[in-house]
Symmetry: C2
């Protein structure tokens, strides 16, 4: 069986919560590979990620049989399998709109993360930023964005502009044919027909921490 096959499980719908965890599994597997680990079992994987071992086995079981009794999972094989499940078999072109501090951080980030994501385009409105080079790419003018989108295919648009500009930027991207948006602005983007939207919600975590500190967050065991 190849890692890409689904082991006859077609038709069964995968829990969204499971899909959410796969990137975390993948990241941890990359770390293990860097440490030259050949195999990993569900228990140690769980400990590294703060999850129960049964959770990991159940998650992986949706996609077929990856593990072996008394051995665990082969790291390399599982990486290939999860990459395949996540659709990391092809490349995705990224555009970052807004090259302030956050945009720059994301640009440098994007290069490291995974070679399946290729940063193609940086755009800003600020004349002082336009023309500078960030992550080996020139920053282009927002005015040129529609035209730039027509000359190269962008799969994922990363929105790193102030809240007020986010909706306009989203519309330009969608009109330019971008079908997936990763929104780092405070704006709430939803419900654009045929477009996948992921909201990063950077600031919410601090509220959760405030609540924890203030007293009575219901703890998980």
């Amino acid at each position: 069986m190849t890692p890409t096959s689904n082991n006859g499980k077609t038709g069964i719908s995968i829990p969204a919560a499971t899909m959410e965890r796969l990137p975390r599994y993948l990241m941890q597997l990359f770390r293990l590979r860097r440490k030259n680990c050949d195999s990993v079992n569900s228990q140690s994987l769980g400990e590294a990620l703060g999850l129960k071992d049964t959770q990991i086995r159940k998650d992986l079981s949706y996609f077929g049989v990856f593990g072996k009794a008394r051995y665990g999972y082969n790291v390399e094989y599982l990486i290939k399998a999860i990459e395949s499940i996540l659709g990391l078999t092809s490349e995705y072109n990224l555009a970052i709109i807004g090259v302030g501090n956050l945009g720059k951080a994301l640009a440098n980030y994007a290069v490291q993360v995974n070679s399946n994501f290729v940063l193609k385009l940086l755009v800003d409105t600020n004349p002082e930023i336009i023309g500078t080079t960030v992550a080996d790419l020139p920053v282009r003018s927002m005015d040129d964005l529609p035209q730039l989108l027509s000359t190269q295919e962008i799969h994922i648009g990363i929105i790193a502009v102030p809240e007020k500009a986010a909706v306009d930027v989203a519309n330009i991207l969608v009109e330019g044919g971008v079908r997936a948006l990763y929104n780092f602005s405070q704006a709430e983007l939803h419900h654009i027909e045929g477009v996948f939207i992921e909201n990063a919600s950077i600031s919410y975590g601090v509220y959760k921490l405030a609540h924890h500190l203030s007293g009575s967050w219901p703890r998980k065991k």
Copy 2:
């Protein structure tokens, strides 16, 4: 009844999923306030956030009665109530560790978000950054961090350093008495006794989008 009271619901444990949504409600309420809206009903709040109206009513009902039939919720009152639930009745001092692009972005962010969060400390290891001013604060040396933590109380430590340094930074913060960490590094931080940890996981969204684009993400209706 004051917004802070629990309307006799003490003892009932609040679903974690509900707590996760409260910051989003709060943000949307801030937007409504800025637009001088006095009231909002569960339906329009739901539309703005991509949630069902029943979800919002149920969430709020855990904390008592905030709404009125044929009127909805008073924006100002609901803001006060949620702020109280989230523990935003006192101030929280923030330290940002790592003043690269991400740290700078977070520093400028933190100032806007909410006056309950007060940025007190910026720290980095890079001699070229140490001594510069970001968000009206001088960047201090990482070497001085333990000492700085002993002279002022920091409630929330924001980790914006490279993955390799994250665990060390976390340890220094915890030893310095910080009980809540917001981790923006790629490192997985878990299980520090008595410390609340929130992982921002900035890069995972792009994997989800890749999977969406590649085909068969199970859609929610």
